[in-house]
């Protein structure tokens, strides 16, 4: 899957959770939870949605690799064929 498609998918799922945050305004390299003002419940909702969409498990042990928007995109790209 192309980087663009992955980023579009993340942006769509983030929009469901945080419709008030414009992706153009956030620092994609900074902490995702801070940038989108999401809590642990929101993050779990995001991971659940992306995991279904990409058919990958996204284990909790890998959460550290999903700290920012960019890191999450890279993670998903690496873990989906």
């Amino acid at each position: 899957m192309s980087r663009h498609d992955v980023e579009t998918a993340i942006a769509e799922e983030l929009y469901r959770i945080a419709p008030d945050i414009d992706l153009a305004d956030v620092d994609r390299g900074a902490d995702l939870r801070e940038e989108f003002d999401i809590d642990s419940m929101d993050f779990l909702t995001l991971v659940t949605a992306l995991s279904k969409r990409f058919g990958t498990d996204m284990p909790e042990a890998d959460y550290q690799q999903m700290r920012s928007f960019d890191a999450l995109a890279t993670y998903l790209q690496t873990h989906t064929s």
Binding site: A18, P19, D20, R33, E34, D37, D39, S40, M41, L44, T45, V47, T48, S51, D57, M58, P59, E60, A61
Partner: protein
């Protein structure tokens, strides 16, 4: 004439909002008095029928003077109160009544505040001379004055929290809880699970509280009509932050009966619905105790304000690695501050402390939850 401050000796009745013969409910504003501190609304404290006003508008009377007669619902209809004895009730300093009837509209303080907030001028409203304008009239007459949902939520929070701080004598306790075991349990449980079945540590807090109130029932229930009514069921209110501002504390119903995985599913469902603005009236009205957790990006400690008519709120600060003495050594452990704000009319600090320790004990043995 109520005393609205130790330094107040007298007040002037400036508004009568309820006509004789009309029913009143506890909490209704029936009039307003002018004091040195400004115009203050008068609430009634019982249900009944306003029989008669004893004091005319514009009259200054000393604190303690009866303003009106309210017949409570309990009193039989035949029991007609004696005619007010006008000569005995003669006010000390009778001023000529201000030009109130037939000249300019009377606008209640609450209505005046709303008009000021909304930037509505009295001239914009179609008010007949001598008419009394209450807050609700402003809302119906002026479309611009219709408050937004956000403002409604703030108003509701303001009302509940003001009532809480006015009526409930809170006491506060704090206790540091080691979360190493709870965190390890969640990590272990989640390791083989797909995201939709994973636990959050918050559900462990919720379950620990639900279990602990079984032993300490004086923290779970409602305080109504000067009596505490303990609840058999634990309907655990979850203080949930709403994006864009506001807070809703809807309840996880029957939290004590639900196994951990079921409770986690209920919590996800509840938080999702609350954030979408869809919840049942019962989930709001029936909460028997509330949990407020600052989550991952908060600060160390919070002391909650009890949601009336509940009698306790448990707070959990943000968990972080901190120096803790563990087995005789100062080590870095994952810990958080557990707090209790509880109603002193119902419980005391001693029992409150035991209650917090019981929650702590359950969090040390998460597999038993």
């Amino acid at each position: 004439m109520p005393s609205l401050g130790a330094d107040m000796e007298a007040g002037t009745l400036v508004e009568q909002l309820i006509a004789p013969g009309q029913p009143v409910k506890r909490g209704d504003v029936i009039g307003a008095v002018e004091t040195q501190k400004g115009v203050i609304e008068i609430e009634v404290f019982e249900d009944g029928v306003l029989e008669t006003w004893l004091i005319e508008i514009g009259t200054e009377v000393p604190v303690g003077t009866a303003l009106a007669v309210i017949r409570s619902d309990d009193e039989v209809a035949e029991d007609i109160p004696p005619e007010p004895q006008k000569d005995v009730q003669e006010p000390v300093t009778a001023k000529p009544p201000p030009a109130q009837v037939g000249t300019r509209p009377r606008i209640t303080p609450a209505a005046r505040r709303l008009m000021a907030q909304m930037g509505v001028d009295a001239a914009d409203l179609d008010i007949a001379a001598g008419e009394t304008i209450a807050r609700v009239d402003i809302e119906t007459r002026h479309p611009r004055a219709k408050p937004k949902p956000q403002a409604d939520m703030r108003t509701a929070i303001a009302a509940a929290m003001s009532r809480s701080k006015r009526e409930i004598p809170h006491y506060y306790l704090s206790h540091t809880v080691d979360l190493t075991a709870a965190d390890a349990f969640a990590t272990r449980t989640n390791a083989g699970r797909s995201p939709e079945d994973r636990l959050l540590i918050t559900v462990l807090y919720a379950k620990a509280i639900a279990r602990a109130v079984g032993k300490y029932p004086e923290f779970n229930g409602h305080f109504k009509e000067d009596l505490f009514h303990p609840s058999e069921a634990v309907h655990l209110g979850l203080a949930t932050h709403i994006r864009g501002g506001g807070l809703v504390a809807a309840a996880l119903l029957d939290a004590e009966d639900q196994p951990l995985d079921a409770l986690m599913a209920s919590m996800r469902d509840l938080v999702t619905r609350v954030r979408a603005g869809r919840f049942k009236a019962r989930e709001l009205s029936d909460a028997t105790i509330t949990l407020t957790s600052l989550g991952e990006r908060g600060v160390d400690q919070l002391y909650g304000v009890i949601y009336p008519p509940q009698v306790a709120i448990v707070g959990v600060g943000t968990q972080r690695m901190q120096p803790v003495v563990h087995e005789g050594q100062v080590t870095a452990r994952l810990a958080a501050s557990l707090t209790l704000a509880a109603d002193h009319r119902v419980s005391d600090g001693h029992r409150g402390a035991l209650f917090l320790r019981a929650i702590d004990k359950f969090l040390q043995e998460p597999e038993t939850l």
